[in-house]
Structure formats: C-alpha cells, structure tokens
C-alpha cells in the first residue's frame, strides 16, 4: 500500500502530466469526496446494532451511508459533468458510422 501511494501513484501522475493531463484540476475535484467520507453518519452503526441479522445491518448501513456521502460529495455541477460523460445518441451514431465506413 505504501509503495502504491508513495511510488506508483506519483510516477503515474508524472507520466500523465507529461502526456498533457492537468492534474491540478483532478486534485481539486477529488478533495471534496475525500472530505465527504468523514460526513457519513457514524452513529448509524450503533443504531442498527438492534438488527440481529448482519445482512440487514450491511444493507441499512451501506445504503444510508452511501446516500449521505453522495449528497455531500457530489456537487450539482459535478453531477452535470458526469451525466455528460454518458454516451449520447449522437456519439453512439458517430461511433457506429466510423466502424461501418471503410477507411
């Protein structure tokens, strides 16, 4: 893990920077989710301790925790950017055309 964090990630970052990826922009957008993780409701664990089934505990803690995290971590502008990443009809049509058209 330490090698990954101290060697692999920095090396990959340097290599990506050299091909033109702007790491500062990525770092700015990553800070919010990292901090938002702290906002997940810790007391929820004691609240679900009443459930005897670990499956129920897993589902309740997982889903409530993830929804809370998502509300804090994802801004509206970021959500719009991600939706734009989904393949649109136009882009799919262009991809299909590039496959069928002989070069």
């Amino acid at each position: 893990m330490i090698v990954g964090l101290l060697v692999a990630l920095p090396l990959t970052g340097i290599a990506l920077h050299r091909v033109g990826v702007r790491l500062s922009g990525i770092a700015r957008r990553v800070i919010r989710p990292l901090l938002a993780e702290r906002a997940r409701p810790r007391r929820l664990r004691t609240a679900v301790a009443g459930f005897t089934s670990p499956v129920v505990q897993l589902v309740v803690v997982g889903s409530v925790g993830f929804v809370t995290y998502a509300l804090v971590a994802v801004s509206r502008s970021e959500l719009r950017r991600w939706i734009a990443l989904l393949p649109s009809k136009k882009r799919r049509a262009a991809a299909a055309e590039s496959v069928t058209t002989p070069s």
Binding site: V19, R22, V55, L58, V61
Partner: protein
C-alpha cells in the same frame, strides 16, 4: 509467495481471502472507467477532448471508490455474512488491501491513458518503478508490523 513463506498457511489463507475480496472491485470497475478514453478515440475526438474526458472521469472514479474502500464496519460485516465469523481476521488485512486496490485501479486507468496516448515508455517506467520498490517493501512489511502483527493477534 513472500507472505506464504514468512507467515505460514493459516495467515496466507486469510490474506488470500482478503486479496480476493479486494479484487472484486478491481475486476469490475476499470473496464467501465477505461471506456471514456477508448470511446473518445473511437469516435475520433481530438487528443485534448479525450484528455478533458479523462480529467472528468478520474474524480468520478475516486468518488465511487472512496466509500466502498474506507467503510470498516461494512467490510467486517461483509466477511461475516459471506464467509462466517471464522474468517474475521481477513477483514483487518482487507482494510489495507482495499486502499491498495484503489491505487491499482487508478494506476491501471493511468496506464490505459498512457497507452492510448502512445506513451508506452512512460507506462513501462511506471511499472518497473513499482516492481522494483514492491518486492523489498513487501518483504519488510511482512516481517515488521502489518501482517505479522495481525498474525500474532490471531
């Protein structure tokens, strides 16, 4: 190999179980994450447009992975539900391996971008750098603290 030789069969079993669980995430997400770059290339988008797409995808990837990898309670419950309480020591190792999985996924995503951009040499250097550092670090980590400590608590 190193973990098995140093710690023995029982600890290796816990380690392999934890490694297996941490790999589930790695084997499912990168295919989806790598696609924006490939899709950009396939539809003939320019280099800058593809890079912009990468800059939007990495934060998405991190946002999705952080809650899965950090939640210790969910990890312990997951091991208990799927494999039983006997395998609970695997959950403690899983904590570190999940963080490693995120690192692996981000670097794999980076390799894909580097390969797509034609920077094969850079990808090779990153891999070599990781490999050179990993072997002594794993040996030291297995002997001092970390996994060895977990075994002594078992």
């Amino acid at each position: 190999m190193i973990v098995g030789n140093v710690l023995g069969a029982a600890a290796l079993g816990f380690y392999l179980l934890a490694f297996n669980i941490s790999s589930w995430l790695a084997s499912s997400v990168p295919r989806c994450a790598a696609s924006p770059w490939r899709a950009s290339q396939a539809v003939g988008e320019g280099h800058h447009s593809a890079l912009g797409r990468v800059e939007r995808t990495v934060p998405l990837l991190v946002t999705l992975l952080v809650p899965i990898c950090v939640d210790g309670h969910a990890r312990q419950t997951l091991v208990e539900v799927l494999f039983g309480g006997v395998w609970q020591p695997a959950a403690t190792v899983l904590q570190l391996l999940m963080i490693l999985t995120v690192v692996r996924m981000l670097t794999a995503f980076g390799f894909d971008i580097l390969a797509g951009a034609g920077a094969w040499k850079s990808a090779l250097w990153v891999n070599l750098g990781w490999l050179v550092a990993l072997i002594p670090a794993l040996w030291i980590g297995t002997h001092r603290g970390g996994i060895q400590e977990r075994r002594s608590r078992m």
